[in-house]
């Protein structure tokens, strides 16, 4: 499902032209002019996009291996954010942490990732595995059922109130000023989110490319039956894929809580749809595509909020999803599936 070099070049040339035209308009022609504003929105979009990219990776991995759109993935991310909040609360909260902050943040990530990963395993085992040989609509409906189940379970367990991570209180309100005090500002928290996302994505790419599990995963993705005949246990590979994808969603949930503070039982719905959009834009099934798609969706949303209005940000993002579905349904880095004849 990987695009050829020529197709990629064509895609990037088209995307590049659109982006250049957009930058020129935004900076020189829009009512809110100036490079600083544009770059500030871009940085904000990269931070948001890093989170979307992590969610999109889960969608892409599961789709790549099972051809299943796991619509419960957004809610795994929500559960991850609640687990991270739980760890933060147990260890004293943002204003009076009981252990060093670095250790606390690492604990939040670790527990949320493991918790979300295990949840992913459970979902795969009980909601998808029994339907593996059923028509493709069955697991899709099951996925929607799991999504509602998780949302309402969270409502029951944690209540309807919004919870605040107070991440800036925990880490720092300070950051880096690029271009002087009136220039572009990147908070340390933003830096942490971007660098953690990049680290996780690199680790995932390494896992898929250079490990035995990665090789097995690619084999199962390519042809499950043939992989089984070669001695690979597809069930195990699929379960591990769910674990890894869900763990990434858990990490994204904690990052979201730290940067944007408030979490509640429905945050997974829209975030899941944005992650799905990112996966489609990048080319569903492609890991680099998910990353690229996440960043593009994040930046687009940020630009739309900045140059247009908060009302229309989602309209623009989902408009892009529709546009890609119509013009290039395989996304930027995906290719059409070959039909066996």
């Amino acid at each position: 499902m990987i695009a050829t070099r020529q197709q990629r070049l064509g895609n990037f040339a088209g995307l590049g032209l659109v982006l250049v035209a957009w930058v020129l308009y935004a900076v020189y022609a829009s009512p809110t002019q100036g490079w600083t504003f544009f770059l500030q929105l871009t940085v904000n979009g990269i931070i948001l996009g890093s989170i979307y990219a992590l969610i999109a990776l889960g969608y892409s991995m599961v789709y790549g291996i099972l051809k299943l759109l796991n619509f419960a993935h957004g809610d795994v991310y929500m559960i991850g954010s609640f687990i991270g909040f739980g760890v933060l609360s147990v260890l004293g909260g943002a204003l009076s942490p009981a252990i060093p902050v670095v250790l606390l943040v690492l604990c939040m990530f670790a527990v949320a990732m493991i918790g979300s990963g295990v949840l992913g395993l459970v979902i795969e085992r009980f909601a998808y595995r029994p339907l593996r040989n059923a028509p493709r609509i069955a697991p899709l409906i099951s996925a929607l059922g799991v999504a509602f189940f998780l949302e309402n379970s969270a409502l029951l367990l944690f209540g309807a109130q919004y919870r605040n991570y107070d991440g800036y209180d925990l880490i720092s309100f300070n950051g880096i000023h690029i271009g002087g005090p009136t220039g572009v500002f990147v908070s340390y928290l933003g830096v942490i989110v971007i660098s953690s996302s990049v680290a996780l994505m690199v680790a995932l790419v390494a896992l898929v490319r250079w490990t035995r599990f990665g090789k097995a995963m690619r084999a199962v993705s390519f042809d499950r039956e043939a992989a089984a005949m070669m001695g690979i246990d597809p069930d195990r590979v699929i379960a591990t894929t769910f674990f890894v994808g869900s763990a990434l969603a858990g990490a994204a949930g904690v990052m979201f809580g730290l940067v944007y503070s408030q979490i509640y039982h429905l945050i997974g719905f829209i975030a899941g749809l944005k992650g799905f959009t990112a996966a489609v834009v990048g080319g569903i099934g492609s890991i680099p595509g998910a990353m690229l798609g996440g960043l593009l969706v994040g930046m687009t949303e940020s630009w739309a909020k900045g140059y247009l209005n908060g009302n229309v940000a989602d309209l623009v993002v989902f408009g892009i999803l529709i546009g890609f579905m119509l013009i290039r349904p395989t996304g930027l880095l995906g290719t059409p599936a070959l039909q066996k004849v």
Binding site: T32, F37, Q40, L41, N44, G45, I47, L48, N152, L155, G159, A160, Q161, Y162, R163, N164, D166, G167, Y168, D169, F173, G175, H177, P181, T182, F185, S187, L189, F256, V259, Y260, S261, Q262, I263, Y264, H265, L266, I267, I270, E301, S302, W303, K305, G306, N309, G310, N311, A313, D314
Partner: protein, 394 residues
């Protein structure tokens, strides 16, 4: 193939029977509702009040607060009135999803002959959508949060005089109070207003914006979804010389997140000003202003509520306490006058006549013909202190 067709035909026939039965049922619905509306109910030892609030969905946090306060009133009442207890039944209106849920709840209350009066619904759009169902059931309904001015004028959004009441001052009271405080006391010249795309928020934002503009204040208007968490792009748009940002929102944690992101973006010199929806310990950005009923957090009833709810004030829901109080007193009076029996119409009559000399909201409660608070209390202005408490400043 024929077997399959036969099966399909049987299923289709079954569906059509079910649909026609349902249709017949719904056609008969108004009769049942009318019967419930006209029925003389034996008051007995337990009287029922319906609470229509968003208990799930995006505005669940607000609805749960309202239900908590209504139940809190019932619990306090029931401790002292064993032979005239109040039972609360709740209906989930899912505010922000679809007003059809509010209408369904209204129909369920209207067709339940035990329900004698209602608290809610929460949103002005829900009030408009569900009015005919409540009127059909002859039910009086008292909202603790629907503030659209036109709800009580008897013509703009429909006529609900004699049925609808509210225990909150409308937008026409709060907006001038806030705008005048910004102009006269804070001397603001440049204000940024962000509504949260909900009817409540947009109404207040419109009101404040109009008065500020009329008085020569430079106003920039923006909007962000009530479900938004990422405010960075909106914050980037706020000019550095802005003195204040008005955020008439309903979710205090959202305002807290906004304040933190504003500070993190290096704009901590910009002061926030919230509305009654944000009067909560969850919003603790020191130096911010807020308008709210003159409710005293040190009031014994309020303190007891906070203690019973793990330290959460949930003050936005407090008008629903007063709404439940009015319903209860009206039912009690109607039952007394009817010698142990009453009708919904009799209860409505008592709601219209209700006069509470004081309430936990800090003002007396009685209603105008349209259903507004008779002598609207002025809103208090509070400033958040470093310890997170709200200090009255105006």
């Amino acid at each position: 193939m024929l077997k399959k067709l036969g099966a399909v035909a049987v299923v289709a026939a079954a569906i059509s029977v079910a649909v026609s039965t349902t249709a017949w049922g719904s056609a008969k619905g108004p009769d049942r509702v009318s019967a419930a509306a006209a029925a003389k109910v034996t008051c007995g030892k337990v009287r029922t009040i319906g609470v229509a609030a968003p208990l799930t969905g995006p505005a669940a946090s607000i609805g749960v607060e309202q239900l908590h306060w209504a139940k809190y009133w019932a619990a306090r009442w029931n401790r002292k009135h064993k032979s005239a207890r109040i039972k609360i039944v709740s209906g989930d209106t899912q505010l922000g999803v679809d007003t059809a849920f509010a209408v369904k709840v209204a129909h369920s209350f209207a067709s339940n002959s035990k329900v004698l009066a209602v608290v809610g619904p929460a949103g002005s759009q829900e009030v408009v959508a569900s009015t005919s169902a409540y009127k059909g059931g002859s039910l009086g309904f008292i909202s603790g949060s629907a503030t659209r001015i036109s709800l009580t004028d008897g013509h703009t959004d429909g006529n609900r005089i004699g049925y609808f009441y509210r225990t909150v001052p409308n937008d026409g009271v709060q907006a001038p109070r806030v705008a005048n405080y910004m102009i006269k006391t804070l001397k603001w010249k440049r204000v940024y207003i962000i509504d949260d795309q909900e009817t409540y928020s947009q109404g207040l934002a419109d009101g404040v914006q109009a008065i500020l503009k009329k008085n020569g204040v430079t106003v920039t208007r923006d909007s962000i979804s009530q479900q938004a968490s990422d405010f960075s792009s909106v914050i980037a748009k706020i000019p550095a010389n802005t003195q204040g940002v008005y955020i008439p929102w309903q979710l205090a944690p959202q305002a807290q997140a906004f304040g933190q992101q504003l500070k993190a973006a290096g704009k901590s010199h910009v002061t926030l000003f919230g509305s009654d929806g944000l009067f909560s310990p969850d919003w603790k950005i020191a130096g911010s202003y807020d308008s709210f009923f003159p409710v005293s957090p040190s009031n014994a009833t309020v303190l007891a509520y906070v203690k019973a709810h793990n330290g959460n004030g949930e003050y936005f829901g407090s008008p629903s306490y007063v709404a439940a109080q009015v319903d209860t007193l009206a039912i009690t009076k109607a039952c007394t006058l009817g010698h142990g029996k009453t009708t919904r119409a009799a209860v409505r009559k008592q709601i219209a006549k209700m006069k509470l000399k004081s309430s936990i909201l800090g003002f007396p409660v009685s209603f105008s013909r349209g259903g507004d608070l008779h002598s609207p209390a002025t809103f208090g202005i509070y400033q958040i202190q470093k310890d997170g408490t709200f200090k009255p400043v105006g």
